[in-house]
Subunit: 250 residues, 2 copies
DNA sequence: AAGTGGTCTAGACCACCTT
DNA sequence: AGGTGGTCTAGACCACTTC
């Protein structure tokens, strides 16, 4: 006897989650609106506390909602920064003394904190690209509108930048690329590797990420015209805060 | 009296999750290894079932572990495809009849399924870019090593491609770009917008994504040399299966 | 003070996989 | 058959926010 394939009913918590997701994606619930809470869901659907929590946790882990202790669960809001892959690193940018970041944020106020500069032995992935083992490392965190959005760790070959402004907090007009140019090594070519994954715990803390927010990892290498690697920069971006744009010709 | 700020102890489930994460990231537990299960954690730490589950759910939502029904929870494995942003779309590629996908997978076997081609009215975001409202839409899913890794939806202005091979399953040697070239509109410029987010439910199904896996969304527009938009292609990639690479000059 | 989400216990039944 | 994860109930205490 052939059993007609009955599609199994999804569990209650999924059905509730689907219902709420639909309300969010359809715009019925808007940015910042409050979702029905645990108690409301318990009453409305006649379910136990844990089941209501499970339904909400689905939306939270999807990055669609954010819980606020003692207050409620809210629809999450987005306001991405457009980061231009090629234009931002053009010669005209650093050539005229523009900080690269100003091209990203287009006037929105940004801050740099947790700046940290040290001479270190390079980790393996970096050493493999830069060749040498000794590097100057510049770590920093960028915030826009008062919220942290990016972590950045730059590595420079120590023999190249020892004693220069690149080893100091204030790198001067045009930033590190202008200084590399002063040293006779203008950056000519860039290569960026882009990945996305869930954040590690320390990234969650430093970027103040709610659950369900991936990070974008950019691993960028800068080269001179004759192929010498100048810098390796690993950036961790809050994925909800960014749109990357890359333009190129066929 | 000044209370010395006591750092609050993290909850039990977090401590257990941290312990297991450390074991994974340090390599003590390797790809495919089995994690201690719910019962093991209950016994070892003297906790309730729900607490053990909560600890494991942290790792699962971080994409570090995958549960297998009736079997156990396992360390997740990765094997990303390198996708070259600029080189793959160079004239030489489609000019010599290469399918673009062959440049990505470098010989690994790939398949296209769920192919679907229809003439439709464009959704708003697409219509805004292409100008017109009528489009031919090509939907498909790509799999590598038998696992789905990418969904793709291409849109072409209907007035441009009506009656051409672009409206049929088999687009011929060199694919759609070679056909656009035949029509006198060679693609000359590309612009890609890259985002990352957690998947929507239908993407989770079509890409067979475990929890804790983000998707990378690429929204690409192809232009002729004089700036006419030829194609809008929205791609959804399993983030765990991809590394994007973009090269450009200063 | 009342309501909210955060953590945790102690059970239960189920479908599924392994042996 | 026994172990695994998946779902669910019915409680409890806590810290925090809101009023």
């Amino acid at each position: 006897m052939q059993q007609s394939p009955v599609p199994p009913e999804p569990p209650i918590y999924r059905r509730i989650a689907d219902e709420l997701r639909e309300a969010i994606l359809s715009g019925e619930l808007r940015d910042g609106d409050r979702l029905p809470g645990e108690n409301a869901l318990m009453g409305r659907h006649g379910i136990a506390r844990a089941t209501a929590r499970q339904a909400l946790s689905v939306l939270i882990n999807e990055g669609l909602a954010v819980p606020r202790r003692g207050s409620g669960v809210y629809v999450r809001q987005f306001r991405p920064i457009r980061r231009h892959g090629s234009r931002r690193l053009s010669h005209e940018q650093w050539g005229r003394g523009q900080a690269i970041w100003e091209s990203d944020t287009r006037g929105r106020p940004y801050t740099v904190d947790d700046m940290n500069i040290e001479r270190e032995t390079a980790e393996e992935a970096v050493a493999r690209v830069l060749g040498g083992a000794d590097v100057w490392v510049r770590r920093r965190r960028y915030s826009v509108d008062g919220r942290p959005v990016q972590l950045s760790v730059s590595h420079f070959p120590a023999d190249l930048v020892d004693g220069t402004a690149i080893t100091r907090e204030d790198t001067g007009l045009g930033g590190v690329y202008a200084r590399l140019n002063d040293l006779g090594h203008p950056p000519a070519h860039f290569s960026e590797e882009v990945r996305a994954r869930m954040p590690h715990p320390h990234e969650t803390v430093l970027l103040d990420l709610p659950a369900g927010t991936p990070v974008i990892v950019i691993f960028r290498t800068a080269y001179t015209a004759d192929g010498r690697p100048l810098e390796v920069n690993e950036m961790i971006l809050d994925a909800a805060s960014y749109v990357l744009q890359y333009d190129f010709d066929a």
